[in-house]
Symmetry: D2
Amino acid sequence: MKPEIAKLGYLSLVTSDLEKSLWFFKEVIGLEETTEINGVHYLRAWGDFQHHTLSLEQGDRGYVRHIGFRTKAPEHVLEFKQLLEDGGIEVEQIKAWETPGIGEAIRFPLPSGHTFELYYDITRPEVEEHRRSVLKNQTYKSWAKGISPRRFDHVNIHSSNDSAEAYDFLENVLGFKMREFLRGDNGDVIAGWMSVTPLVHDVALVIKPDLPTPARLHHLSYWTDDSQDILRAADILREHNLEFVGPGKHGITQAMYLYVMDPGSGCRVELFSGGYLIFEPDWEPIEWLEAERPLGNTYWGDSIQDKELNKITIEA
Amino acid sequence: MKPEIAKLGYLSLVTSDLEKSLWFFKEVIGLEETTEINGVHYLRAWGDFQHHTLSLEQGDRGYVRHIGFRTKAPEHVLEFKQLLEDGGIEVEQIKAWETPGIGEAIRFPLPSGHTFELYYDITRPEVEEHRRSVLKNQTYKSWAKGISPRRFDHVNIHSSNDSAEAYDFLENVLGFKMREFLRGDNGDVIAGWMSVTPLVHDVALVIKPDLPTPARLHHLSYWTDDSQDILRAADILREHNLEFVGPGKHGITQAMYLYVMDPGSGCRVELFSGGYLIFEPDWEPIEWLEAERPLGNTYWGDSIQDKELNKITIEA
Amino acid sequence: MKPEIAKLGYLSLVTSDLEKSLWFFKEVIGLEETTEINGVHYLRAWGDFQHHTLSLEQGDRGYVRHIGFRTKAPEHVLEFKQLLEDGGIEVEQIKAWETPGIGEAIRFPLPSGHTFELYYDITRPEVEEHRRSVLKNQTYKSWAKGISPRRFDHVNIHSSNDSAEAYDFLENVLGFKMREFLRGDNGDVIAGWMSVTPLVHDVALVIKPDLPTPARLHHLSYWTDDSQDILRAADILREHNLEFVGPGKHGITQAMYLYVMDPGSGCRVELFSGGYLIFEPDWEPIEWLEAERPLGNTYWGDSIQDKELNKITIEA
Amino acid sequence: MKPEIAKLGYLSLVTSDLEKSLWFFKEVIGLEETTEINGVHYLRAWGDFQHHTLSLEQGDRGYVRHIGFRTKAPEHVLEFKQLLEDGGIEVEQIKAWETPGIGEAIRFPLPSGHTFELYYDITRPEVEEHRRSVLKNQTYKSWAKGISPRRFDHVNIHSSNDSAEAYDFLENVLGFKMREFLRGDNGDVIAGWMSVTPLVHDVALVIKPDLPTPARLHHLSYWTDDSQDILRAADILREHNLEFVGPGKHGITQAMYLYVMDPGSGCRVELFSGGYLIFEPDWEPIEWLEAERPLGNTYWGDSIQDKELNKITIEA
């Protein structure tokens, strides 16, 4: 039986302006800081159940170190290691708790060029009384500051590497199911929304022929309960003089969106709400053709199509 | 390896006033009718992907025939049959397509007294052009009439049978995971929110000492994307002179609610929105004590506690 | 003491395809039909308190007959007649109830080229039991069909006539107060949001140098209680394959917007929500310069700037 | 021609725990502080256009000093003085700017026992860059903290004095129009929603036979743009362990409500959204009978009827 991934866990982000990024993610987006250790800040949303879903640290430029996923069982971490090494992939092993909050882990490159991390053990630190929700099933009080999304939702990554190999690896090695995809005019899959959960995507991978480096991050995404929260987010961003794309509603995923850049790292954040869940075990991936891309991108609203702001990505 | 349930599928409801029930579910709740065969009406929400999530037929009184669940794989249906018969449970086998839209199935009684059905094969009938969504990933146009929820969400069943046995069966035979539960003053679990999906519950089972019959249905639930849809639902129900409880927000599940009775069958429907998803593979069930029941029931809003309207149930 | 206007009343619209316009306004927008007399259909929103706020009739092309306003007192109608005739304006007198629901009225051309009507007496017809709200202060049940806005809000008219004369007449003869305005690079006022009520505008007048005819209607507007109703409207329009601009939020007025064309008459409808009210008796009109027009038009969202769809107007 | 009131202006509140009241109004409700002078704190909402809409100062108990209204013209202040003195009412004259932000004013007792203030001149202090909205027509950035309502809306006052005299004074001396009212079983008006603006009420006056003192304040109210803001407010209050009544929707006014007490002064605040506007110059006051009071109070939701928390008032 193959090892399995349970969920997207966190993203490790390096920023060229830590102070600005902390202001953006804590005050504007409204994430809570779990802790700071050795200059690395560990953040999560009020409804996240892990130690952190985003880590932030100072570097010479903005880029993604790696993207972490939690496995379904403790033994799956090393089973994945074996599986990957059997496939000729070089795997780095990370000692337990070297990353605060994260147990023993492995890291490895994907054919798309991105680095994924897999781990199982996590810590769920206690929250101080004054920030703790009155509800037993909620981590922090909601609405404490900024946009205040509920939880980490997904990542959208770009690659200029071979399409078939990239999707094949995600599906057949890592176990992601294709939920919706875009077929280019040349017949290749050029964008895929894939998940191990009933979300339409935990990861979207987009193939682009010419990128500054082969592996890029287009955005990470946090989820809000209500579509009106996206409208409130637009007010907040506008009042902070932060440019954004949206609000609008995707055809693919059916979710409301709004995209804004962290002015520190250049990393884009999507505020995301609504959409559908897939519980059917025999889901037929929804195919969109190149000509249908505009509807797939934007069911209605401020279109992401042809927006310069939408084209920038960071190394990942 | 054990067979597994993928999701809640549908509820088979008998009503003493079919015309009134059809008006309620189609015009007020806003479900779409897939088809009518031999006097049985097959309904689903605009975002449901199955043939139906509710069937309605005339009878001498309102009651639930059975509650259907879809398995994760075709072979799981007969594997479950074997498993159940090995445990001494009498299993009824239903021929494929005897229930329109549903392939080969099995039905059996639970220790709680309820009848569950398991099946894998389903049909997804084409939708007529004028009702079909412009989106490839959505069944019907949304907002065509009434409250217009997105999809079937969960069932809440009551039983006066033995608590330990009832929960044990759901967990250990059917594979439901306990997500949140209420522990009575006598130490017994008296309410459990359980799921096979990342929803907090596909099924809630409440143990009550004195019920008219051992197995009852408290409500079935349809989901709306936004909490404001629940407020709009309240307007619609009030203008139809239909009594309801809510709107309010549960502590357990963190979801917005509104409860209204089908005037035909006496079956209660919960309109439901928001709440959280559970992706952690090692989720610790949240325990609520009897004294915390009011907060668990109602985080805020029109309380379900002590409402006469909230106590009525139908046979199931 | 000068006669005064109390409020915007209704718009008389001619359409080249009555059937299509009735479908659009009744089924898509969700207006209620008060009555049909001699081929003219009288419509209003569920929260409108008049006989009608829109009349629809067949013609050879789409255009606006006139825009009706209610005066503050019965005697103001003839006082306005005197005032206008004293100013050399030709005034047409309309017999009471010649327009169903509307008492004695006067009609006259504005310097902008538009025809306004003034009346005081109105009828408020009873609503049939099954459409009547359970509330004594509400005309119809809300949410019966389509987008279902609450009430008629404002009109936006365009003119290629002299700017100074046009605004002067609205302010000094008709008593509209300037609330916000756009000053063109040449120093002229080129757009003015004006009201006799605390709404930011009952009428917006935009001056454009080259129009097909001197007096045009850009849109009429209906108001929804909540900004999420605008998002729901977008879903409904998209599913009806009706093109629209928005949703977005204006800087001027601070209101959410969405613009869609009646496919029968070519008349644009703005769905409108939120914004602010002006209760200060000494309100200083807010001045926006040409360079600030983009922010004034669109605080955020799908911009109305440079949209071809936004440039079409009909004769008025 | 009679002097006229333009709008409700502000409420002067004394609290027995200034620190707690400041925390409540600034951090929880989310009002902005314009300034503090001699221990009096001047607050307003982000969309208020005056110097302040609430003043807070320390005292030995919580009570209302007076409620301020702005007149339509400068000369109306002294014209009202004359009118009142002609009617045998003792009028106190307040020097300009004795109350920061407020010009020359008069104060006088109503038959209901409440003290009203009338003034015309106000100051509109500049807002510091970092708190100022990017919009020219908005005072502060919205959503900076807490619930963040847009503007001061109305006051609800209680009196045990003579009903006929109390309403007569508000209508015939101060010019408030009755919009909706409740007729008691004895034939008296026992509650009236009255306004000088198109709002259904700037002031609601409720007659109660037995009150601790003849003149009381039931609540002051701030307005939010969207009904979902009321749901968000409920989350925020619940997480601050502040008890409240609601959310629900009134029949009278048709507005969403939520009532919460300032823990410092005991003054109740209503968060309020939606409802209708009255532009008709010949509005027929809506009459509700005692038997219809429950529907008038609560169209749906958490009922204010029979709630102990709803019965507390403070001296005014």
